[in-house]
Symmetry: C2
């Protein structure tokens, strides 16, 4: 048995992970801050008995959460996928959990093969705050006209140059992104939920879209200002960046 | 106006507060640890321009949460109840929120006048953990027979001597408590919810009842062992103490 374990072939494992991003500096490793990647990678390295590198579908910013982030890792793990997931979960902190682990073809690539991503943004539109919603939503006490916001979102759907909604210090080949759907609902607690599906997103894009929609909801901008705002390609013309704590990466879809 | 403010009469304000207890050493002030009372009291003292004391319906242990803890405070606040609540909320940390503030008769006493309390205990009965449920439930991967547990809870209803379920180092006049209702449900996620209403509870009592019910659910004890266990009046005979993080003080009822 021991020889068999030593001879375990390298395989490519795709994992779906959920995390409460409150205490982390985002997904990706960086200097002087603890990222979620920094937590998972050493545990997987220990399991593989060699240094491994994990590759996620995309970064999430500091404080952003995930229900279904996807990463893949190539390594000669001596246990099967299910056992790998269970051991890993037993070693991870409470705010990071692996939801599934599956061996995929060696050429599977979590960034390149992603065809779309779904995000949800939670905005708690209420006069008074709630201790129970503070970690996972943006508390926004000003009144918002949800019908105006619903009218505005349709202008975002489709292929547009989203430069006006891109965070600073981004370097990307193209600023054009294709938004497949964008819906707004409000529940009985006063939680406004923005659900957006797109082929890809620029840095801070979802938070900048939501922040701009609050300007529309408050009457500072009209719904039909959106096409003009997109055409300006100028971040300074759009609304504020919504707080990271309200944003969830819900799922990443593959072919 | 200034004289009027200075002359604000002392009044008795009843407040309902919710909190995420994760980061606190329980409700009540103690040496060398940060309690929820230690957060609220100085903010109210600043608002009253004098040192005030707040009195809650009961302590909650370290890590225990509240949706509807009740306290009262007697002080000459210079603003009305609603304004008081809003100012206080703007100064409290995100994990503590005042839900309501109401001036009540001077003889209202949050402990003495409480007629019953409702607690809910959340036990996540699933093979795999969830990052999103970790702060607010007890992750319990072993299989539990919910029908056995439901059969057992009925023995707890009514007046009994609950010494077998009392935490150590308690000094109380009587160990008899009256349980008014005790229900168990399980939702589609695998969350088992214990809802218990009683006139009062001993220290750690809800958590010890839930811990004992897990022993029944696992087959280590029979439902009809409960009356014998109660009769023994011996803590060492009952089951483990369920984790604090699953417990919520839901509401305190007054006449």
């Amino acid at each position: 048995m021991k020889e068999k374990e030593l001879a375990a072939p390298v395989r490519n494992v795709k994992m779906v992970v959920e995390y409460d991003g409150t205490n982390y500096a985002g997904w990706q490793s960086q200097i002087n801050a603890l990222a979620i990647q920094d937590i998972i990678e050493p545990k997987l390295s220990a399991l593989a008995c060699r240094k491994v590198h994990i590759l996620a579908s995309g970064r999430t910013d500091a404080g952003v959460h995930a229900l279904g982030q996807v990463f893949n890792v190539k390594a000669p793990f001596p246990v099967d996928d299910d056992r790998l997931m269970r051991i890993l979960n037993s070693r991870l902190p409470n705010d990071i959990s692996i939801k599934s682990a599956e061996t995929v073809p060696m050429n599977f690539h979590s960034i390149r093969d992603a065809v779309s991503k779904k995000y949800r943004y939670f905005l708690y539109n209420s006069r008074d705050p709630s201790a129970w919603l503070a970690r996972t939503s943006w508390f926004f006490p000003a009144e918002l006209d949800i019908d105006r916001m619903k009218e505005a979102v349709r202008y975002f759907i489709g292929k547009h140059d989203f430069t006006s909604f891109m965070g600073k210090n981004s370097s990307v080949k193209t600023t054009v992104r294709n938004i497949l759907s964008f819906d707004i609902t409000k529940d009985e607690r006063g939680m406004i939920i923005f659900e957006i599906v797109g082929e890809g997103f620029l840095r801070h894009m979802v938070r900048n879209l939501v922040g701009t929609l609050t300007d529309i909801g408050r009457g500072r901008m009209a719904p039909d200002d959106i096409p003009k705002l997109i055409a300006k390609r100028d971040r300074s013309q759009a609304g504020p960046t919504a707080a990271a704590r309200g944003l969830f990466l819900v799922e990443v879809n593959y072919k």
